[in-house]
């Protein structure tokens, strides 16, 4: 009986002090890796792998998954408080989270992020559980044609994210796309835009690019402006636990958006290659697009925090699907997790559906328990985190610059990334200063290579006729729908007056 198996797995996890202890230990570690810019979940798994040698398969998998599941919960802390993304997918949270801090609403933003992360994580786990019976045909139905069109759908969100200057937004998005082409061409092997530099052969590192476009400009701007990160008066913006809890309730006040973005995130997580960056930006774009008043976005709209945060955590549940059942990692973090599973003696693949369902259900419960536990741990510490924003900017700048340098270096152990970081940082500062919206840069960078690889593969398999595949037609309809909605809104309300000050 499947229900017996499901609840036996729950009892196995919560009834074992050893497993509960591992989850309790893993959650703050995961939040730490998320909160330090440039570390992130991938590095977290890599660094923790030596610690799970000698553990049994279930304990090791539970420990690593619990750590990885809450990375983005921690990653939202520097995004909201300092305008510095803890991990790439947390960059979307900056767009509205940081302005909320500047308005003195750090507590509410942290609460919304916290609630959204926990909610997203639980929905992701439930999604994973619900999808098990229909998993195989759905994932196998995706071909390069659908990957390409899904990437294009993401890129069309550039228009939505462009705020009050569509032209500038498109140009920054195109700049991101062009940087995505920096690498060895996957089909001819020709180095493109690499300037003879080996470190660029694998492409521009996303963490370096995001740190360059966001962290360095923010620190320069903070140094130019002076004072603390929070622009509001200290006494006006001081908050207590009630404000954090109020932020958590925002997630339920916007329950429809929370459910939609959690499900979108989980679905994107199931599709190998798209990853968390795409999930958070697409969900942010969806929040803007579906809002009755898009002009609030970029200035501290709480929905702009909720949407990417639910997606960030829910996509972990989704990405576990192809990882466990097909041995195809749903994200780059899951690629490393896959290696860890194999090291622990777990053999991902279709056979897990026959002989490993107990383990699968234990992992699903771990995912949900870790996310709920992270809420309480975060809740205890949130008031302390919020006070950090009133630290004088000058005290923060050298530490954040050092961490940004460190993050850029550690991401590929390449000192050249520090050069790239500084170059993009200077450009990013002037883009910020002259109000070129920077979020489209990230979406272009993330989706550019996915679009190119998938297009070439689709053309090689089907030729130009791939557009006529039934699933392709669904995606084409979604793309036209997305663009159509934007122009309909422009015609009705004028260009959305979204200004990205971050």
């Amino acid at each position: 009986m499947e229900l017996d198996r499901i609840f036996d797995a729950l009892l196995t996890v919560v009834g074992s002090p050893h497993l509960v202890g591992l989850i309790v230990l893993a959650v703050p570690i995961g939040m730490f890796f998320g909160a330090i810019p440039g570390l992130g979940g991938k590095l977290g798994i890599v660094l923790l792998i030596p610690f799970v040698f000698g553990m049994d398969a279930l304990s090791g998998a539970v420990f690593l998954l619990a750590m990885h599941a809450v990375v983005h919960t921690g990653g939202s802390i520097p995004s909201i408080l300092f305008g510095v993304p803890g991990t790439g997918p947390d960059a979307a949270t900056i767009v509205d989270g940081f302005p909320m801090t500047q308005k003195g609403e750090a507590g509410r933003a942290l609460g919304a992020s916290l609630g959204a992360s926990g909610f997203g994580g639980v929905i992701g786990g439930l999604f994973l559980a619900a999808m098990l019976p229909v998993l195989r045909p759905v994932v196998l139905a995706f071909s390069p044609a659908e990957f390409f069109l899904l990437a294009i759908l993401g890129i069309t969100f550039i228009a939505t994210l462009s705020g009050d200057s569509l032209l500038k937004g498109l140009l920054v998005g195109m700049f991101g796309l062009m940087l995505a082409f920096v690498s060895l061409d996957p089909f001819t092997g020709v180095p493109r835009f690499t300037f003879g530099q080996l470190f660029l052969w694998d492409g521009v590192d996303v963490i370096t690019a995001v740190l360059g476009m966001f962290a360095i400009p923010e620190m320069i701007a903070l140094g130019v402006k002076g004072g603390s990160i929070a622009q509001a008066r200290k006494e006006a913006a001081a908050y207590n636990l009630r404000e954090v809890i109020d932020g958590i309730f925002d997630v339920f006040r916007h329950w429809a958006l929370s459910v939609r973005t959690a499900l979108i995130g989980a679905v994107i997580g199931t599709i190998p290659g798209l990853g968390g960056d795409a999930a958070s930006w697409i969900c942010y774009g969806h929040a803007v697009q579906s809002s009755k008043d898009p002009s609030r976005f970029g200035k501290g709209a709480v929905e702009g925090v909720i949407a990417p945060e639910t997606a960030n955590n829910s996509k972990e549940g989704g990405s576990l699907l192809p990882t466990l059942f097909f041995g195809v990692p749903g994200s780059s973090g899951m690629a490393i997790m896959l290696g860890a599973f194999v090291m622990l003696g777990i053999q991902p693949g279709p056979m897990i559906a026959v002989s490993g369902m107990d383990l699968v259900w234990s992992l699903i419960w771990t995912l949900m328990i870790a996310n709920i536990l992270a809420v309480f741990m975060f809740l205890l510490c949130a008031p302390v985190f919020g006070k950090l924003t009133y630290v004088r900017g000058g005290l923060l700048i050298p530490f954040v610059i050092t961490l940004a340098f460190l993050g850029a270096f550690l991401s590929h152990a390449a000192w050249e990334n520090i050069v790239l970081l500084c170059g993009l940082g200077v450009l990013g500062y002037f883009l910020k200063k002259y109000r070129w919206p920077r979020p489209p840069f990230v979406i272009g960078l993330i989706l550019g290579s996915i679009a190119e690889n998938s297009l070439h593969k689709a053309l090689a398999i089907w030729g130009p006729g791939f557009f006529l595949r039934p699933l392709s037609l669904v995606f084409i309809a979604l793309i036209f729908g997305s663009v159509g909605v934007y122009f309909w809104r422009v015609r009705k309300n004028g260009a959305p007056q979204v200004r990205y000050d971050t």
Binding site: L171, R192, I220, L395
Partner: protein
């Protein structure tokens, strides 16, 4: 004078797209297809943005923005110099040596913090870099180009 920061930023973006278009022309057909598909329209769009910026500058003349920019310029120069100092310091001496010294220097001489605060900042940076990253996490931190020569 109409050549302001706004126009210069657009010109930099234009140069990037035009340069990438020119470079892409030299690649094989499959390798240049998508880059050209993006960079050529982007170059044209950048030109349009440049026209908008120049027209705006000609119409508006000196604005409050330009006065504010003049006030900000010394602070901007200072921040860019510090970024350069951090970059050169880390490149020459690596994280473990340069970062604590630079954190101290920035706090003491850049921000005029008290000696004790600056020293605690530098010490804190060293404890995090050496204690957490090197000892606990056993990560290799970049040593710079000069440090290995000095330490043999």
């Amino acid at each position: 004078m109409i050549l302001n920061g706004r126009i210069l930023t657009t010109m930099v973006m234009l140069a990037i797209f035009a340069g990438m278009s020119a470079m892409a022309l030299a690649y094989p057909e499959k390798a240049r297809f998508l880059p050209l598909l993006i960079s050529v329209p982007a170059t044209l769009m950048c030109l349009a943005q440049l026209v908008f910026d120049v027209r705006s500058a000609l119409q508006d003349g000196p604005t409050e923005d330009s006065a504010e920019a003049a006030l900000e310029r010394p602070r901007e120069v200072k921040m860019f110099l510090w970024l350069a100092v951090f970059f050169i310091g880390v490149m020459c001496f690596g994280f473990l040596i340069a970062a604590p010294v630079l954190v101290f220097a920035f706090l003491r001489f850049g921000e005029k913090e008290p000696w004790m605060t600056a020293m605690l900042g530098g010490l804190g940076a060293w404890i995090i870099l050496y204690g957490v990253f090197t000892r606990v996490l056993e990560l290799f931190l970049f040593e710079g180009f000069i440090t290995p020569l000095l330490t043999g």
